[in-house]
């Protein structure tokens, strides 16, 4: 309607001498649409590349957290007790036949000595089934059936705050793998239990606790996430029906204030010499949700300024070595230096190495959010609106040595103690508005107000182009776009069919993924053909290619804007693919005057037709991120399965927004142009 209005105004302009300013501005924009779109797209790209420069230092916005205000009291006594537990676990793993039964018992015994309430939580592996209608629902897990023989046992201990009212709880999670108890990283796995125990034993004597403490020693035989998610599901949505529920003891401790997942990982000796213990923070939960930035800040502050532990976050190592990024870094440095010489107040100069690292981290941050898959067990907490973070601690020296292990446990334990203490201080929920952000370094973030700019620049030209295309058509009927609505409708119906197909494919067969992929592709093609037979060809007489393009752009911009609300990072990356496709689309048979420009546009179009196909687009993204050696197109099925296994909305975006856009792009490309 708006387009029609603008068009009507333009018509009127020919007759009337003067019209309103806003209309004239709009008309101006529309008449210079090519220039505007080129400028906007370039500005969007530049703004995206400049994001690392615009990152701000993090700060703790909630005063009540008071990180590091109290001296840590975790002592060697606690750590030595924890060490005994570690030794016991290791000996069980070596000697006993069934470590998956003995280890939970042992942990429960140690918990009870501290005076904690304990119980075991049994869970089985959830059926990884595709439920197209369960997206965004908070409880994807079906009620667990303990019928299968294989189940995991998590041990849970609760410390009641001595004078607390039991309304809130802080959850500590330490995953360990009983199946691999005698394996290579057994000492690291046992150390995470030991670390948790040392903190737990301290907290069981703490008089300052205001919130209850729950320690979940989760059995990670089906993955870290499964056990935590199963426990959280039982915590929030218990199943009262069935025999299992009547015998099962499940104790609770109020609303969860925060979850801290930590595990010790002993990495192989890297070529790079580590001079400190390292803690890696993982924060991305499903569909790009992030915990409150304050939680990360507290961990970072305590680790760096109190315990002297180096903090890392996810980063794409490949990008650090990339020449392109390095050159960009140099350019940014020069530009920054120049700007500073113009005006000393413009301080956005940044050393190129820092820029390169910032870009690699930012890319990882955007990619993890865009994928919509949690990067650790903390993701399960976010499904229940609980802020949580996963800390992966890796020691500087080997954990085999007892002295270094004790020192490491002391450091790590004090970090967790400090974090618990900070959260315990909190009188309110985490409420400061830092939920939408990208990280460019452990202590630098790009806030939502800044990172929206590139996206806004990328999306802004779309309506303008659509309006100008609408004006350029020969037909003067204001309702002429209705004819093109048919191909649009067909395409979107088809995309819905494509979305739902995997549900039936995964249901009917145990095919290998290649076969599934082929079935999916075949089914989709057949659906498309059937739709065309039923509704007729998209190239009817009234369908002008300009109109088709205008309508495609309109639908894409709606899709992108909707996705930006659900998962901004996905929309951001998607816009990089889709917006050029929308702008460049031109039929092969169209006649233009300038053959050079035409041939360039055609080349671009053909390249985009290949790269824009969701399968290749996903492969391209993964290639850029992980290196091209490992990527194969046939893995698409697996990666999609991965996405819907985690209820990621990225799957919906790919099939419901990106795929129709690509199909319409093809339609335009092969438009007969009568």
């Amino acid at each position: 309607m708006e387009v029609a209005e603008v068009e009507a105004e333009v018509e009127k302009k020919a007759t009337a001498t003067r019209s309103r300013l806003i209309v004239r501005l709009a008309a101006l924009l529309v008449s210079h649409s090519t220039l505007v779109s080129v400028v906007c797209c370039l500005a969007g790209l530049i703004a995206l590349l400049v994001l690392p420069l615009l990152a701000k230092n993090t700060y703790i916005s909630e005063n009540a957290l008071l990180p590091g205000s109290a001296n840590p009291v975790l002592s060697y006594q606690h750590v030595t007790q924890a060490n005994n537990l570690i030794m016991d676990i290791m000996s069980i793993a070596d000697v006993k036949e069934a470590p998956d039964i003995e280890i939970p018992k042992l942990i429960a015994k140690y918990m009870e000595i501290l005076g904690a309430e304990t119980y075991h939580h049994k869970f089985s592996q959830p059926q990884n089934q595709f439920h197209p209608l369960y997206f965004f629902s908070s409880s994807p897990n079906s009620p667990p059936t303990l019928a299968n023989l294989s189940y995991g046992t998590s041990t849970v201990g609760i410390i009641r705050a001595p004078r607390g009212d039991g309304k809130e709880a802080i959850v500590l999670v330490s995953p360990y793998n009983t199946q691999n108890a005698g394996g290579i990283d057994a000492s690291a796995s046992a150390s995470s239990i030991g670390l948790a125990f040392s903190v737990f034993s301290l907290l069981s004597r703490a008089t300052w606790l205001a919130k209850d403490i729950i320690w979940v020693a989760s059995d990670s035989r089906f993955g870290d996430h499964t056990s935590v998610s199963a426990w959280l599901n039982d915590y929030h949505n218990p199943n009262f029906i069935g025999d299992a529920s009547s015998n099962r003891i499940f104790k609770r401790a109020g609303t969860m204030a925060c979850g801290i997942v930590f595990k010790v990982v002993e990495k192989e000796r890297r070529e790079k010499y580590e001079d400190r213990d390292v803690v890696t923070m993982y924060a991305e939960a499903s569909n790009g949700q992030m915990p409150n930035l304050d939680l990360l800040n507290v961990v970072h502050y305590l680790a760096v300024h109190r315990q002297g532990i180096r903090v890392r976050i996810g980063m794409f190592g490949g990008l650090v070595k990339s020449h392109l990024v390095r050159v960009l870094g140099e350019v940014m440095q020069q530009v920054g230096r120049f700007a500073r010489s113009l005006n000393p107040d413009w301080r956005f100069e940044m050393p190129s190495s820092e820029y390169v690292e910032g870009t690699a981290t930012l890319a990882s941050s955007i990619y993890s959010q865009a994928l919509g898959v949690p990067t650790g067990p903390h993701g399960a907490f976010r499904d229940y609106q609980v802020d949580a973070v996963t800390l992966e601690l890796s020691p500087r020296f080997s954990l085999k040595n007892e002295h270094t292990r004790l020192a490491f446990l002391l450091k790590g334990g004090r970090l967790i103690e400090g974090t618990v203490r900070s959260v315990n201080n909190l009188l309110e929920k985490f409420h400061q508005s830092f939920f939408l952000y990208f990280l460019t370094a452990p202590n630098k973030f790009v806030s939502v107000g800044v990172y929206m700019i590139p996206f806004a620049f990328l999306v802004a030209p779309l309506p303008i182009i659509a309006a100008s295309l609408f004006n350029l058509t020969s037909n003067r009927n204001p309702w002429r776009w209705l004819h093109t609505a048919k191909p649009l409708l067909i395409t979107h119906t088809w995309s819905v069919v494509v979305t739902l197909l995997p549900f039936y494919i995964s249901k009917i067969s145990d095919l290998p993924s290649t076969h599934c992929m082929l079935t999916w592709a075949g089914g989709s093609l057949m659906a498309l053909v059937i739709l065309y037979i039923v509704f007729g060809s998209p190239y009817s007489k009234h369908v002008e290619w300009r109109l088709l393009k205008a309508v495609m752009i309109a639908s894409v911009s709606i899709g992108l804007c909707l996705m930006s609300i659900i998962n901004f990072a996905t929309a951001q990356i998607g816009a990089l693919f889709v917006v050029p496709m929308c702008l460049f689309a031109l039929p092969i048979r169209v006649k233009t005057n300038n053959s050079l420009i035409r041939s360039m546009v055609m080349t671009c179009n053909l390249v985009m037709a290949v790269l824009g196909f969701p399968v290749t687009a996903v492969a391209l993204m993964q290639g850029v991120i992980k290196g091209f050696g490992t990527v194969s197109i046939l893995e698409f099925w697996d990666s999609m399965k991965f996405l819907w296994g985690w209820n990621s909305a990225t799957y919906l975006y790919l099939v419901l927004v990106h795929l129709p856009c690509w199909l319409l792009f093809l339609h335009i490309l092969f438009h007969p142009c009568h």
């Binding site: 008449s31 009262f240 010489s341 113009l342």
Partner: protein
């Protein structure tokens, strides 16, 4: 004539009995009725110490003051606190109980079915209930409001928040059987501190200057794991006014294996309050601690009297405080010879309450009842029928909109029809911003049941903007529910040789009951920095929308065209003329050709752009040169 008098007397007697019936049913049994009518005001002080299985110590202070029905001195009192007497007189209170509690009574470990824990277990925060001797409901409500304000002033607490009709309820039988003259309110968030203790101590004749109350060292008692300070009063024409002031603290001795009174309280007990009629210290050793092995505990110090309970073999050691002086302070010392894990008498069912679901929209309240199988042997009164009755009393604030029809009851893992299980139910649904929802429910479970669960769905309501706390909040509280077991009576009968108001109260038929956890409901919390942004955005959008809408609606296109045509003929206005002249001069275009060029040239002609870029370049270069020099 004589027969008339006799009949009227009989009627009067029956009538008075009828009036007092509810009291007899419930509290008439608390040991008050056995005391003979006192002639004058009396005060007695007692302390009961009890080692708990997790090596903590329960210290239970118990002060009783009585005032005869008609004071011989008129409105004057010797020992009895005047403020309380005035309170009772003014508000016509029949019974009242006020408790300030911090921490949670651990029903699992500290016992749930002995009289001491039944009396001690109180919900966190403030709980107040009162029975009035007033006929009409409206008057009771008005009196309750005044009472909350008086108590609020008397105890330096925000009890006045119970004044609002959204915060108190009038249960009929779930809390205590009554004729609608009971009011009950709870403030789970109220913090308890010394400022509440000081006015409470002022009610004692010796305050904390002498006697047992002198043990109340503030740092020691507030360091405890549980702290419950109560005032309970009862008045009627027969006995006058009786107030019981109790303070229960659970303390953690520094040395787990041995403790003494001096270590616990950091003070010594050097003598009784001179005004007290009796002053005694008891040490109670639970049967389970003794019967297994006689030598688990070792007592240091000579007791004046040792008696056993007739059933549970709990042993009471009595110490008379008057025997001790400053030279020889009373210091009871207990040594644990052996560390072991035992638990005290459990309630027949262990109740816990929790919230289900997540998110800001809806959720469910669940009450789960787990059978404590091994403990039922210690309970009696159970052999009559094979049904366990459970009474649940729950008050839910209005912003948690409970749908009572969604009540689902699961027994041993199978859903049961509510008709089969619910014996009696009384629901007062909440009314928005007027009254809270009250649920009283009597359930009947088979004896062999292992577990049961009840769920009730609710929607979270929206508060008005000024009902939110000023800052972003933690969430809102649902006060503790009360789960009581009318078939189970907790009582202990000691030989009559001990005359003690504290132990007398054990004799009564107290129903076993336990309070559940307070729940925290996170409601949708507006970010209060947002309204400004939202208002600005919304107003802009609305203004744009209405502006263009009105514009479109009132516009006549044909008329405008006609106007525009006629305007062309007329001379333009002064200011546009000036502007056009100036712009023409700037551009250097002659006046007559201006009209043509205006219509053909776009606003951003290449010349203008070039000029702007040129000027900007000159400015930047100038700045650069200026700065570098």
């Amino acid at each position: 004539m004589a027969s008339h008098t006799f009949l009227s007397l009989l009627l009067f007697y029956l009538y008075s009995f009828h009036l007092l019936r509810p009291i007899y049913c419930s509290f008439g049994s608390n040991g008050f009725e056995t005391t003979s009518v006192p002639k004058e005001e009396e005060f007695s002080e007692e302390l009961l110490l009890k080692p708990l299985p997790d090596y903590k110590v329960l210290a239970h202070f118990h002060f009783t003051s009585t005032s005869p029905p008609s004071s011989s001195n008129g409105k004057h009192h010797h020992l009895f606190p005047k403020s309380i007497a005035q309170l009772v007189k003014k508000y016509k209170i029949r019974e009242l109980e006020l408790s300030f509690t911090q921490g949670r009574w651990n029903y699992d470990r500290w016992g749930a079915s002995d009289p001491l824990s039944t009396a001690n277990g109180k919900p966190p925060g403030v709980e107040l209930w009162a029975l009035f001797d007033i006929p009409t409901k409206e008057e009771i409500d008005a009196t309750w409001r005044n009472l909350t304000h008086s108590l609020s002033g008397l105890f330096c607490a925000s009890i006045n928040f119970l004044e609002s009709s959204t915060s108190y309820s009038a249960p009929l039988w779930g809390f205590l059987p009554n004729n609608g003259d009971l009011r009950y309110g709870a403030l789970p968030r109220e913090a308890v501190c010394t400022e509440n203790l000081t006015p409470w101590l002022k009610l004692l004749p010796c305050r904390d200057k002498a006697g047992i109350a002198s043990l109340l060292d503030r740092p020691s008692i507030y360091r405890g794991h549980y702290h419950s300070q109560r005032l309970k009063l009862r008045s009627d024409g027969l006995n006058g006014i009786v107030i019981e002031q109790t303070l229960s603290v659970v303390l953690q001795p520094i040395d787990r294996t041995s403790w003494s009174m001096h270590q616990l309280f950091k003070k010594s007990l050097t003598g009784k309050c001179a005004l007290a009629k009796s002053s005694k210290v008891f040490l109670e050793i639970e049967g389970t601690l003794v019967s297994q092995n006689e030598n688990i505990l070792e007592l240091v110090g000579e007791a004046d009297m040792v008696t056993n309970d007739q059933r549970d073999h709990s042993t009471i050691y009595q110490y008379n405080v008057e025997r001790y002086s400053e030279h020889e302070a009373l210091d009871i010392r207990v040594n644990w010879k052996k560390l072991l894990q035992v638990s005290f008498l459990q309630a027949p069912l262990h109740a816990s309450r929790f919230l289900m679901g997540s998110g800001n929209e809806r959720g469910s309240i669940a009450i789960s009842l787990q059978s404590a199988r091994n403990s039922t042997k210690g309970l009696y009164d159970n052999s009559k029928n094979c049904f366990t009755r459970v009474v649940i009393f729950q008050v839910v604030p209005w912003y948690v909109k409970v749908y009572y029809h969604t009540l689902r009851i699961y027994v041993d893992g199978a859903i049961r029809d509510a008709k089969d299980v619910v014996e009696k139910i009384n629901v007062a649904p909440s009314e928005d911003k007027v009254s809270p929802g009250t649920l009283e429910m009597m359930l009947q479970f088979p004896c062999g049941m292992m577990s049961a669960a009840l769920t009730l769905d609710f929607d979270k309501g929206f508060l008005h903007i000024d009902e939110y706390p000023p800052d972003a909040n933690q969430g809102f509280d649902i006060p503790s529910a009360l789960v009581s077991f009318p078939d189970f009576i907790s009582r202990r009968i000691y030989p009559d040789s001990i005359s003690s108001p504290l132990l007398q109260s054990y004799k009564g038929r107290n129903i076993v009951k336990s309070y559940t956890e307070v729940l925290l409901v996170p409601l949708t919390t507006p970010d209060f920095s947002m309204p400004y942004n939202v208002i600005t955005f919304t107003c802009t959008v609305l203004a744009l929308y209405f502006g263009s809408m009105v514009n479109v609606l009132r516009r006549r296109v044909s008329e405008e065209e006609r106007l525009a045509k006629s305007k062309d003929k007329r001379k333009p206005g002064l200011i546009p003329l000036l502007i056009s002249k100036i712009s023409n001069k700037v551009r250097g275009i002659k006046e007559d050709s201006a009209n043509q060029s205006q219509s053909s040239q776009p606003i951003l002609g290449p010349k203008v752009v070039f000029k702007v870029v040129l000027i900007a370049l000159i400015a930047v270069l100038g700045h650069y040169i200026f700065n570098s020099s």
